[in-house]
């Protein structure tokens, strides 16, 4: 299933202006934006980093890139998640052409953006839009881990806020899949305030009594954990996903504190009361469909599902 749907949605055509390099050192040298088609892993097999099992790529893809031996969840792209989740041809992408600027003229940022665009096949680190899951309409956002580690800059914040605001207009629930290293340093204070902006928008959604499901995937840290990823009516995590505010390396460096084994996993977070459900990727679609269905407006008491 995974592979087919993946194929259907993989080759997206992006028609937008490339990032403009503003760094004076590179004046004039505008490098055209190349959206490379991401290939499926071209090897015939891959070794599971958790259990060491050698897996055929075909089998792995067919199992949503979840190890068939130990259920280790390989990281996947935003578009792959989308493909796994939504009803065929139901996805309408929003704000695909929004582009990052370099407001701080931050050293090396334009180059990093170009690399990220090439690596991810996306113009920016989040994919937003509207779709149906088992027939239930929903607004969706997916962080793209291959885009500067899913970090949140102005575009990511703005696209997420717009998606939430449109959900309010359309009276639809929102599901956001997070994968992020946190705020995007290169956009400085503007990046930081995207945390407040997205949290505020979700506050408005809540006032409209609309459902928000946050799905945390490996890894989710920093400014994203400290904003939209933690504000779900329902918090779902993929098994074994690492989730936290401060990364383990930083904790070790600054606090000279070695985290215990299993700290910051989805399971650790659930034990500490922060996660409602741990749902495997293969079961995600049906789990979300049930939850969405039970929160449809007609499902309020007095009516039946």
């Amino acid at each position: 299933m995974f592979k087919d749907i993946f194929r259907k949605t993989k080759y997206v055509t992006i028609q937008a202006a490339p990032i403009q390099k503003r760094s004076p050192s590179e004046d004039g040298q505008q490098k055209p934006l190349i959206i490379k088609k991401k290939e499926l892993p071209d090897g015939l097999w891959v070794k599971c980093p958790k259990c060491g099992e050698v897996l055929f790529t075909k089998n792995l893809d067919e199992n949503a890139r979840v190890c068939t031996a130990c259920e280790y969840h390989f990281r996947i792209t935003a578009r792959a998640r989308l493909g796994l989740l939504v009803d065929e041809n139901s996805f309408e992408e929003w704000d695909a052409e929004m582009l990052t600027q370099d407001p701080m003229e931050f050293p090396g940022y334009p180059d990093k953006l170009v690399v990220a665009q090439e690596k991810s096949g996306l113009l920016e680190g989040v994919l937003t839009g509207q779709a149906k899951i088992e027939g239930v309409p929903v607004v969706l956002a997916f962080n793209e881990g291959n885009f500067m580690m899913g970090s949140m800059g102005s575009v990511v914040g703005e696209k997420i806020v717009r998606a939430i605001e449109r959900a309010i207009e359309l009276r639809l629930p929102v599901v956001i899949f997070s994968t992020s290293g946190g705020a995007r340093m290169q956009e400085g204070i503007l990046s930081l305030y995207q945390m407040a902006k997205t949290s505020a928008a979700l506050g408005r959604l809540a006032e409209h009594h609309l459902l928000y499901i946050s799905v945390l995937t490996d890894p989710t840290f920093g400014g994203v954990t400290a904003s939209y990823a933690s504000l779900g009516d329902i918090q779902i995590a993929e098994p074994n996903a690492l989730i936290g505010f401060t990364g383990p390396r930083v904790i070790k460096q600054t606090m000279k504190q070695e985290l215990p084994k299993g700290a910051q996993t989805a399971e650790f977070n659930q034990e500490h009361g922060l996660i409602d459900l741990i749902v495997g990727r293969v079961q995600m679609r049906s789990a979300l469909a049930r939850l969405l269905r039970y929160h449809q407006e007609g499902a309020k008491y007095g009516a039946s599902v």
Partner: protein, 328 residues
């Protein structure tokens, strides 16, 4: 001047020279008053020159000055009365966050502030001003009461960042900050946030969702500590100075970027050189904005705060370039 920065040395040296001349003049009975007056003028112009063109990294040093006034220094000068209220009602009282009810220019307000300690002992007690989740939850609890009773909220930001240890992770640091952000965005009362020292990333932002955002002249407010930024960019924490310049986090930068609304003047050399003067400036500026905000309806306060947040961010769509206010 117990704690002296390198960039202050020329000033100190010249002051020393004046002192030497005066001593010499007294001992020998020679009139050097003209020479001394000249030197004093030079000191004044040197101060204006040095303190008027501080680099970002120098501002970081002033903002982190061990004698820089903290919230508890300002409180008795800013408020006619301050009643500190403690605890998150859930787990603990976090001493890196102070909160309570105060009388400010005759108006009852709710106050929330991050507090660094002075000296090692107090710093340990206050976790170096780095709040745990219970600090943010106390803040939300008290701000919810401000909303309930219709009191304006004044927040004071001064933290290297949120606590980054296992305990913070266990108790949901991310959740605590996120709730704080969401709560502040939703209030119908005036919210004024002032960065009085360090504004360290998400841990600072948690108290920064104001209708008005003020910054002391030598404070900074950054997405990441300059040392960490240098470590990521150049694998070299000693390049913090360069990182500080790249991050554009000074009060002046934030005013230009449209995030800060006004800069509160500090005495020459920094707030630690004159607490009373700084408090007076702070008091006047906050009062000015409070008077303005009190003109607004509750709904307008909330809506304008949302729109202020909403406008932060720079991006372009297709050919249209979205230029937000304050950005040139």
């Amino acid at each position: 001047m117990a704690h002296l920065f390198d960039f202050e040395k020329p000033i100190v040296e010249m002051i020393q020279k004046i002192s030497d001349l005066q001593k010499f003049s007294e001992e020998k009975g020679i009139d050097l008053s003209q020479q001394i007056a000249t030197l004093e003028k030079k000191v004044a112009s040197l101060k204006t020159e040095i303190y008027g063109s501080l680099e970002p990294w120098q501002k970081v040093q002033i903002a982190r000055h061990p004698e820089r006034p903290n919230f508890y220094d300002y409180a008795p000068l800013l408020f006619e009365d301050f009643i500190e209220l403690k605890g998150d009602r859930l787990f603990a009282d976090d001493r890196s966050v102070a909160g309570g009810i105060a009388l400010f220019h005759g108006t009852v307000v709710t106050v929330i502030a991050q507090v660094k300690g002075k000296g090692t002992k107090e710093n340990i007690k206050r976790n170096f001003g780095m709040p745990h989740p219970e600090g943010y939850r106390k803040a939300v609890r008290l701000m919810d009461q401000a909303e309930k009773f219709g009191r304006p909220i004044l927040t004071f930001i001064d933290t290297p960042g949120a606590a980054c240890d296992l305990a913070a992770e266990e108790r949901g640091q991310g959740e605590a900050i996120a709730r704080c952000l969401q709560a502040m965005a939703g209030y119908h009362v005036p919210v004024i946030s002032t960065v009085i020292g360090e504004g360290g990333s998400g841990g600072a932002l948690a108290l920064g969702v104001g209708n008005v955002i003020l910054m002391l002249e030598n404070s900074f407010y950054s997405v990441i500590a300059p040392e960490s930024c240098a470590s990521i960019l150049w694998k070299d924490t000693t390049k913090a100075k360069e990182a500080a310049a790249a991050l554009k986090f000074t009060a002046q930068d934030l005013l230009r970027l449209g995030v800060a609304d006004e800069i509160v003047r500090e005495p020459q050399g920094g707030a630690h050189n004159n607490l009373h003067q700084t408090a007076e400036e702070l008091s006047q500026v906050i009062a000015k904005y409070l008077v303005r905000l009190r003109e607004e309806t509750p709904e307008a306060l909330r809506e304008k705060r949302y729109q202020k947040l909403r406008a932060i961010g720079v991006f372009e769509e297709a050919a249209t370039i979205n230029l937000e206010k304050g950005l040139d």
